[in-house]
Amino acid sequence: MSDTGIGASVRRKEDFRFLTGQGRYTDDINRPGQLYAFFVRSPHAHAQIKGVNKAAAEAAEGVRAVFTGADMEADNVGSLPCGWVVTDRHGEAHKAPPHFPLARDKARYVGDHVAVVVAESYAAAKAAAELVEVDYGELPAAAETGKARDADAPQVHDDAPGNLCYDWVLGDEAEADAAFANAHHVTKIDLVNNRLIPNAMEPRAAIGDYDAGTDSYTLYSTSQNPHLLKLILCAFVLGLNENKLRVIAPDVGGGFGSKIFCYAEETVCTWASRKVKAPVKWTAERSESFTSDAHGRDHITHAELAMDENGKFLGMKVDTTANMGAYLSSFATSVPTYLYATLLAGQYTTPVIFANVKAVFTNTAPVDAYRGAGRPEATFVVERLVEVAAREMGIDPAEIRRRNFIQPDQFPYQTPVALQYDTGNYGASMDMALEMIDYAGFAGRRSNSEANGKLRGIGFSAYIEACGIAPSAVVGSLGAGVGLWESAQVRFNATGSVSVFTGSHSHGQGHETTFSQLVADTLGIPIENVEIVHGDTGSIPMAMGTYGSRSLAVGGSAIARACDKIIEKSRKIAAHLMEASVEDVEFDNGTFRVAGTDKEKSIAEVAFTAYVPHNYPEGVEPGLDETAFYDPLNFTYPAGVHICEVEIDPTTGVTEIVDWVAVDDFGKVINPMVVEGQVHGGIAQGVGQALLENCVYDGSGQLLTGSYMDYCMPRADDLPSFRVGLTETACTHNPLGVKGCGEAGAIAAPAATINAITNALGILSMDMPASTEKVWRLANTQQMAAE
């Protein structure tokens, strides 16, 4: 292994610019003559828009234009689409009511976009927005997930009766019932997967820039997938030819899913730039992020697990209500179905699983993918069920998991919920995690805590995720409106450097380093000679973008394929130069050699020849620039075991995480330093969900946690250091053997944390977040029961 190649913790290439203040985020960009947009947002969760009087705002100083939904309707601007059609249990497509960028008839959540003011300064736009008079007819709101389907619940959309988006099933209910009928014991739980607000640190921003000379648009946007944004805007919303819109997603300050989607604001900026004949810039204030970024999670679930007398799982039934919010965001419908119920087998051989998911509309912000997207919710169900089952059955929690693990010799393993796992060794991760946490020593540690008046608990989470999203034909058959391949273009420049154009946008993941390692290693060139270009539809082939821990498994595989093409073409040129037959030319670490001779040519020399083809093989095109599109054959299945140890002060209810061990199998690892960083960050978000974070709307649909004063972000002093270990079973179906690591921590952590807290308190269940007051109350109840 070289010190810059695959497997090395190469320090990141992108860091210099970030550390010196030279990153270029969307809000850092200013276009000549640009104007500023400020949105008039609904203060009501549900209201008729009876009229909008723009006159005073239009007359205000510095204001160029005020637009409403009617203006966009007049221009035939379409609805923001949901790109995944879920078919319900009766064979009907999900209900997808229109979602206009500026609301037309009704406002359906607090923060919904009612009008936009475009002015010469941000201050002028914001001031004039206060002058836009909206005549609202307030309506009762359906604000709660659990009450949205009540008979007397207010209707969010006329064409979604009962606020039902879909009623969807996976698995065979009769088989599941039969398995339960034979059970020795059934464990039942009810749980809430609390609603979260993603909170990437960079607020969303956009600049729409129409060029009248070419009748084309450039959109700068904080997007994880500029090509997908371009596709949606052109094909579904603005009705543009795709060659008339260029989307640039420059440096992006974190996404975690929330920047996948096509949002109203960037749509309006693009459209409005043509109306006002000037670039239009919008940058979210954090309070706007709270109300109008797509939120995450928000499930209510009842789940049951049937076991035999040895704790062997016989069957599982899961019933979930998932909140879609007021409108369907770009991929909202897939999250609680194909990214959720398909993961309910977990790491176990549960033979029968039946899931029913009802998605509901409410008068709250749209809900869509947030780090993990369905898989954290699934893991929380499975790992809470298993933990409670262990306690009810009196079986050690590590042991009950072991008894039910899919064994290494059972792969490929077909689960009862559609997925086929290619490889894994769950016992190996469990062994390593138990050793790292010193499981045998836990009883002693618990006694020590008790002596200090503290309650100590330990909690497991043996998670699995489906990443590397995903085989196009498979997702197409399930309702996806797109293919989920990825592209890469590898351009060997004439003088020996390489430019790589990838569709996998990087917004913290370190692609510029990891992909450079991959290319440098594959082509045998210095890493300094590799430049990774991403985030510009003007220079990169059509691409699908970054989400679902797919960048290395899919985007990296595309790069590997493009590198292979480079090598194969170069081999022909090298053979010609060395006067050998192509079959006799070997390639190793950047050099072509003729077997059995001392003839050799470096790949850089070959590249030069490709562009200066004075002495060149017949029938070979000049140039060395190859593009590959990689469509994965299967999902990848990262899996692992996280163990959390907590200490609780029963006097105050304060929970301290005193140790955290994460053992993950991500397949082959390109850059261990980057992988560990992804694990740390994921755990922090998962712990945030378990202990601190909670998006709360009141009964009337007002957002109570609309700033960092009330929405509790994990801070450095809320978290411990983490101990991370890796096991490895290489993915069997992609050229790199990689699985993906971006979401693992967020998937594993909530269950591990709640399992540890409930273990400490001696109870079976509690809802997230485990706030200090909740923990104090539960600790007191337990204490009183004991006395």
Binding site: L19, G21, G253, G677, H680, I683, A684, R715, D717, L719
Partner: protein, 155 residues
């Protein structure tokens, strides 16, 4: 409009501002020093931290006119002659950043910590960072970076 003068990264600057112009707006919009970021509107995230007269402050919560006559240092001003500041170098070495958005404020805050406490322990570092929110790293490597920078800066 009022005039404000200050020394920013060693350079004397003067500009016309409104009473309400925030220091961060002056830095980003008038001086094009866009390394200082704005991540919230309630003075909690710390992406906007700069030094004013050697003390770390949130430039989103200070008027430009409050800094009249002051010496201001931003993330753009701490590397010397192309050499990263030891804190920047430690963040790079220990992977203390991912998306980079919170990083300028995080680095400026951490430098102020070591100015006041050259040998902080892990708990002191974590407490000091209360005013800086990072969504990417889980803070683990930020803490390691600051510990390492402290050791290097003590020499």
């Amino acid at each position: 409009m009022p005039t404000v003068s200050m020394t920013v990264n060693g350079r004397a600057v003067t500009g016309e501002v409104e009473g309400r112009t925030l220091l961060v707006e002056f830095l980003r919009e008038q001086l094009s020093l866009t390394g200082t970021h704005v991540g919230c509107d309630t003075s909690q995230c710390g992406a906007c931290v700069v030094h004013v007269n050697g003390e770390s402050v949130k430039s989103c919560s200070m008027l430009a006119l409050q800094a009249d006559g002051a010496g201001v240092t931003t993330i753009e001003g701490i590397a010397q002659n192309g050499e990263l500041h030891p804190m920047q170098e430690a963040f790079r070495e220990h992977h203390g950043l991912q998306c980079g958005f919170c990083t300028p404020g995080m680095v400026m805050s951490a430098i102020d910590l070591l100015n006041k406490n050259p040998s902080p322990d892990e708990g002191e570092i974590r407490e000091w960072l209360e005013g800086n929110i990072c969504r990417c790293t889980g803070y683990h490597n930020i803490v390691k970076a600051i510990q390492s920078a402290a050791a290097n800066m003590r020499g």
